[in-house]
């Protein structure tokens, strides 16, 4: 038999096998027994599908975790911004109240930088001559005295802080009404001077401005007595006062005109 005939036989055999299979199925009969052939494959396929799905799920979980972390960071940032706005709002409300209750009010300003002069303890505020600010004016916050205007430019001013050694203000002990002078030391505390030994001063006494220096309006809170020392070789007591307003926490300030002067 030639190879062509053999190939035709192979082809026809294949064709008739397929024809038989198809005819068998078209008569509504099924090859249920043949399905058993696929059982091992189905089992392996199910296993690999499960493994594949597990790996995919783990991979997706990593991605989802990353996305959620990003969202969480964004949400935390938003919460921080919100908190900051709430705090700012609170501060500005207080400043507004201070402005309404201060007859010597000139302007409200934001602190924009530390002072450029290394030898002085100063801060820069964003209001200047154009807002009616002049040298020597009192600078306060809702907590108390900050300092006084040291120099003025068109749109900004430099404020000399309470703790600077060049700063001094006439004050009064709030309870005993005893007058004195507070001077900066360059440290965290200021010194209350000219309080005689017979005056009883205790730790925790409040100090306010007296207005007698014609610079600062009376009654502005300055600080609290933190230490009292009676030296043997001096005429006056040595009293340390911690300012109410810490100069590293100042954000908005109010500028007041000099005591006695009309705004």
């Amino acid at each position: 038999m030639s190879k062509g005939k053999k190939r035709v036989i192979i082809f026809l055999s294949l064709f008739f096998v397929v024809l038989l299979l198809v005819t068998f199925q078209h008569k509504g009969k099924s090859f249920g027994f043949l399905v058993t052939l696929s059982y091992p494959f189905d089992a392996l396929n199910n296993f690999t599908t499960t493994v594949n799905m597990t790996i995919t799920e783990v991979w997706n979980t990593f991605g989802e975790n990353r996305r959620l972390e990003d969202k969480l960071s964004a949400a935390l940032l938003q919460i921080q911004r919100h908190d900051e706005i709430v705090r700012e709002n609170k501060r500005l409300r207080e400043i507004l109240l201070l402005r309404d209750s201060s007859p010597n009010y000139i302007a409200t300003a934001r602190v924009i930088a530390r002072g450029p002069d290394r030898l002085l303890n100063t801060i820069l505020i964003d209001k200047g001559e154009s807002s009616g600010i002049k040298e020597g004016m009192a600078v306060i916050t809702t907590k108390g005295l900050v300092g006084r205007v040291h120099s003025v430019r068109g749109n900004f001013s430099e404020v000399l802080l309470l703790r600077d050694p060049n700063f001094s203000v006439a004050v009064r002990l709030q309870d005993s009404r005893r007058e004195g002078i507070i001077s900066g030391t360059g440290h965290r505390y200021s010194l209350l001077e000219h309080i005689p030994f017979e005056e009883v001063v205790e730790k925790g006494d409040n100090v306010v401005t007296s207005g007698l220096d014609s610079i600062f309006p009376p009654g502005i809170p300055v600080g609290v007595v933190s230490r009292v020392r009676a030296g043997d070789h001096k005429f006056f007591q040595s009293i340390q006062v911690l300012p109410f307003q810490t100069d590293t926490k100042i954000e908005e300030v109010v500028i007041l005109t000099n005591a006695g002067a009309s705004p």
């Binding site: 190879k3 053999k6 190939r7 192979i10 082809f11 294949l14 064709f15 096998v17 397929v18 299979l21 198809v22 199925q25 078209h26 090859f31 043949l34 399905v35 052939l37 696929s38 091992p40 494959f41 189905d42 392996l44 396929n45 690999t48 599908t49 594949n52």
Partner: protein
Amino acid sequence: MSFFKWTGLIFFTFLLQTQFSPFGKTLSLSTALVYLFGLRSLPSGFSVGRSDGYYSGRAEVKSTAFGAGVGLLEDIISGSIIGPGVFSKGLIGLFSVVVFTDVIFKWTPLIGVVIIIILTIADGSIIVGLRVFLDNININIFNVFQAIFIQTAFNMPFGIILKPKND
């Protein structure tokens, strides 16, 4: 040993074929498997291009039977009518041998690629044609072309990798 090797290969091929569906289309790695069997069923003394009227009827029968078996398994797994896969893979098995004994004179990687392209297209076309004819199913011809194109593209490397024993 050879039985286990081919059984393992069949399992591995169908595993890959069902697990990976690039661009949403099923691959036709079983065509490459039948092609490989066709190549391997040629006797060890055979070399492509011999002009002494060599004929290996045994190899053709073996390869056709193997192809029909793979096609049968494919039909069972796909859950469709049993027949199209048997016929197409059986023919692929037969042609895989005939092409090396009677059609080409020298195997080169390019010819290998051309052969596997033709076999894959033939396999896809026969299956689709028989399914349409026997099952009366409606098909989107663009989707069919797309599927056959992807199957061909993925089978092309096998045309280079798989070669006759003595080349």
